[in-house]
């Protein structure tokens, strides 16, 4: 066992480092020195420039086929690029949904002309894509969406509302799942389209989150007209297309990086005076530190197991499905515990070292436990796909959508 690169991987890592050194600034030791803020307009501009550079050098989506600007490379090389890129001060995150989910769905369902038109600008950061799935009445149960698409001559008219759309406020295009037939059971009456976010009738309103950030949006559709050529997949087969997207989501939603972890918690415990001395000497505190260290290590090492499979050209096992189940509550709980160590001043946003960082974890953790699959849905997925337990009873499975009780 070892964590070493194969000769091919090592050579590639060297190449990547040289390229990054020539084109970006290496992070200083302070890993908290740079935090992407999606609402900074200059950051978006910089992110687009960086994406263009990266795409031109062939690092943006290495696993894609050559015809789409990729290298047809093994996923492990893409991971190595990302590992190295994480050590540099570069703005990231704007293109993950588009390139990780929307464009792969386009590749599966769009015609050659559309692909020719849309893939390259997305890859090079010229156009950003978003995913219009969740609705006020359809979160974990995405197939319960109500946004309607109705035939109108050769085209379609869309009316309804989406919510929790990441990055809709800076996106140029989106893929949208709609209900085209309410008279059949919910999974059967769905159809997917793509559209320009500038289409008349599309209105984006940012959602201010509990954390104060505004990365998500509500998107309203009022008589939005689309040609039939923007349909993805067959009419009534939108659920199949959505599964393609969501399968890619599981790969795309990663861990929030650069947050505080056990090292900082120990630092805090060393500097905190409890009744019986420094908090780091307190057995309860030590027990918590040990538990979180075991989880932190466990997640890192679980990822290494997945990377091992990729490096060997094998399909990874289901072990990575545990990552968000562990990471999200850990983030929330560790943040809360660190604040407790600070005493009553743990509520203040100033003065106390690390307070802001741990508070951000405590409050962000509440959202992270929901985003991209709730704790509960993820447990269902493990139970069903890994352990082979039966799917939940679905009382609405065979009932026409328009006969379901409204909530």
């Amino acid at each position: 066992m070892d964590f070493n690169d194969t000769p091919e991987e090592a050579a590639f890592r060297k190449e990547v480092r040289a390229w990054l050194d020539a084109n970006a600034t290496r992070k200083s030791d302070d890993k908290r020195s740079f935090r992407a803020r999606n609402d900074d307009p200059n950051l978006l501009k910089k992110a687009k420039e960086w994406q263009a550079k990266k795409a031109a050098a062939g690092y943006a989506r290495m696993t894609w086929p050559k015809e789409f600007g990729g290298r047809g490379a093994s996923p492990i090389l893409q991971v190595i690029y990302q590992q190295e890129e994480a050590n540099y001060l570069v703005p990231l995150g704007f293109f993950d949904i588009g390139l990780g989910m929307c464009i792969p769905t386009m590749m599966a369902y769009a015609g050659p002309e559309h692909l020719k038109r849309y893939v390259k600008p997305a890859l090079h950061g010229e156009e950003i894509w978003c995913q219009l799935f969740s609705e006020p009445a359809a979160g974990s149960d995405v197939a319960g969406i109500r946004t309607r698409a109705e035939r109108d001559g050769d085209g379609w008219v869309i009316n309804g509302q989406k919510v929790w759309t990441s990055g809709a406020h800076y996106s140029d295009y989106g893929i949208i799942i709609t209900r085209t037939d309410p008279a059949v059971p919910k999974h059967q009456g769905l159809t997917m389209f793509f559209l320009s976010m500038k289409t008349p009738g599309v209105e984006v309103r940012p959602i201010k989150q509990m954390s104060g950030g505004a990365n998500f949006n509500e998107v309203f559709f009022t008589d939005v007209r689309l040609p039939d050529s923007q349909r993805l997949g067959k009419v009534g087969e939108g659920w199949k297309a959505a599964l393609t997207t969501l399968m890619n989501e599981r790969l795309a939603v990663g861990l929030p990086s650069g947050g505080l972890d056990v090292d900082e918690l120990m630092e805090l415990a060393r500097d905190t005076d409890l009744e019986d001395g420094p908090a780091i000497k307190n057995q309860q505190v030590r027990g918590k530190i040990a538990d979180w260290y075991v989880q932190q290590q466990g997640l890192k090492l679980t990822r290494y197991r997945t990377l091992t499979a990729l490096s060997k050209g094998q399909t990874p096992g289901p072990e990575s499905s545990i990552i968000k189940i562990v990471a999200a509550p850990k983030m929330q709980d560790m943040g809360a515990f660190a604040m407790e160590l600070m005493g009553p001043a743990g509520i203040m946003k100033e003065e106390v070292p690390h307070a802001a960082g741990f508070q951000a974890q405590w409050i962000g953790g509440a959202g992270f436990r929901i985003a991209g699959g709730t704790d509960e849905i993820l447990r269902n997925i493990v139970a069903e796909r890994v352990l082979g337990l039966p799917a939940d009873v679905r009382v609405d499975k065979d009932v026409p959508f328009n006969k379901l009780g409204k909530s």
Binding site: A290, V294, Q297, L301, V326, R379, N380, V382
Partner: protein
């Protein structure tokens, strides 16, 4: 990145798994649990034939000279079967102790006998109700003679020799030494003691001037024991991972089959989420155990930290899976006839035998502090 076992090691694992599935089904565990035999003799003999006790012993001493990784995959299978054999006592604790601290002569004699299965060793540390510390060890060794009492000693009545922690008169942590004693002496008395897990027999060993010899230098007992426990924690972690996985699948199989309120109980989220949590803890434990195995093989600087993390994660995974296995079974799971009890009992024995999670969490943070200071 090569954070996995080799194909050969996986093949070995499969071989041991098949052997145990065939020769050590749960009815064998039950036989030992209900009966008087010290361990499942026919299973042990088969494991000896397969070369299991010889696995980690160097070829120079009659062993197979394989790496810790081979022993790790075997441990996982022993744990999965909850096999009632002197694996943890003899193959792990006694063998590793002799490898770690034995003189050339001691290694020659005991390792070759261990490899052949002629000798069964055990480790005798605890003396009744207090968790062992250098200051509370009353057993003494001096002038070649051992006096005192050790209890509980795993496989104490079946073992042919024991490695005993004894006071040798030094100060502080240097008060104790490891001592090797042949148990075939009239000055050694063995008495079986009742424990929570009758499938793994334990005994009291009393020494009344028994002839013995130092294993390792005098006064080094506590330090050697810490090192021994680090290695053992990693092998135990694999056994615990195997046991946790077995308990998880036992619960899952029952949840598929048992009907309540008109459907399989495994279709209810209360059960699904519980079993998903078993899986989460299992994979955290497995990943930490792998790192322990890697450090053990390379003698990496992270060994003490990796051992503590593996120990904590595996203990948690096995405790959780074994208790929720009973819970998933409901009332039938609490009967003597149910197989659920084997893992519940074994999980607790394994959790306590090298010191419990509280002690290991404390050790882990101490080691983290040392690492951060370095």
């Amino acid at each position: 990145m090569n954070f996995d076992f080799s194909d050969d090691q996986k093949l070995l694992k499969e071989q041991v798994r098949k052997f145990l599935a065939d020769k050590c089904p749960t009815k064998v565990v039950r036989r030992v649990l209900d009966g008087n035999e010290a361990f499942a003799d026919e299973v042990w003999k088969g494991l000896v034939e397969l070369g299991v006790p010889a696995t980690g012993i160097p070829e120079a001493y009659g062993g197979l000279g394989l790496s810790p990784l081979e022993l790790c995959v075997i441990a996982e299978e022993i744990g999965r079967a909850a096999a009632p054999v002197p694996f943890d006592s003899s193959v792990i604790l006694a063998t590793e102790a002799v490898k770690l601290a034995g003189s050339e002569a001691q290694k020659k004699k005991w390792l070759s006998e261990l490899a052949e299965g002629k000798a069964i060793g055990t480790l005798a540390i605890t003396e009744g109700s207090q968790p062992p510390r250098p200051r509370n060890i009353r057993t003494t060794f001096g002038g070649g003679k051992l006096n005192g009492r050790k209890v509980p000693v795993i496989d104490g009545d079946a073992a042919t020799f024991a490695i005993v922690l004894a006071n040798t008169g030094g100060q502080g942590d240097r008060a104790v030494s490891l001592v090797l004693v042949d148990l075939a002496q009239t000055s050694v008395k063995k008495r079986r003691v009742e424990t929570i897990d009758p499938a793994r027999k334990h005994a009291e060993l009393s020494f009344d001037g028994a002839s013995a010899e130092l294993l390792g230098a005098e006064g080094e007992g506590w330090r050697l024991l810490e090192r021994l426990y680090d290695a053992a924690a990693i092998y135990f972690a694999f056994a615990q991972v195997g046991g946790a996985e077995a308990a998880m699948w036992m619960a899952r199989d029952y949840a598929l089959q048992r009907q309540a309120f008109g459907r399989a109980i495994g279709s209810y989220q209360a059960i699904k989420h519980k079993l998903a949590d078993c899986y989460v803890k299992l994979e955290l434990a497995r990943s930490n155990a792998y790192y322990g195995a890697m450090m053990l093989t390379d003698g990496g600087a992270d060994l003490p930290l990796a051992a503590a993390a593996a120990r904590i994660a595996a203990t948690e995974a096995y405790d959780f899976a074994s208790k929720e296995n009973i819970q998933t079974h409901g009332g039938i799971g609490f009967t003597w006839e149910a197989d659920t009890q084997f893992h519940y009992r074994r999980a607790r024995v394994m959790a306590l035998s090298l010191g419990g999670p509280m002690a290991w969490k404390d050790k882990l943070v101490t080691r983290l502090e040392q690492k951060n200071a370095a």
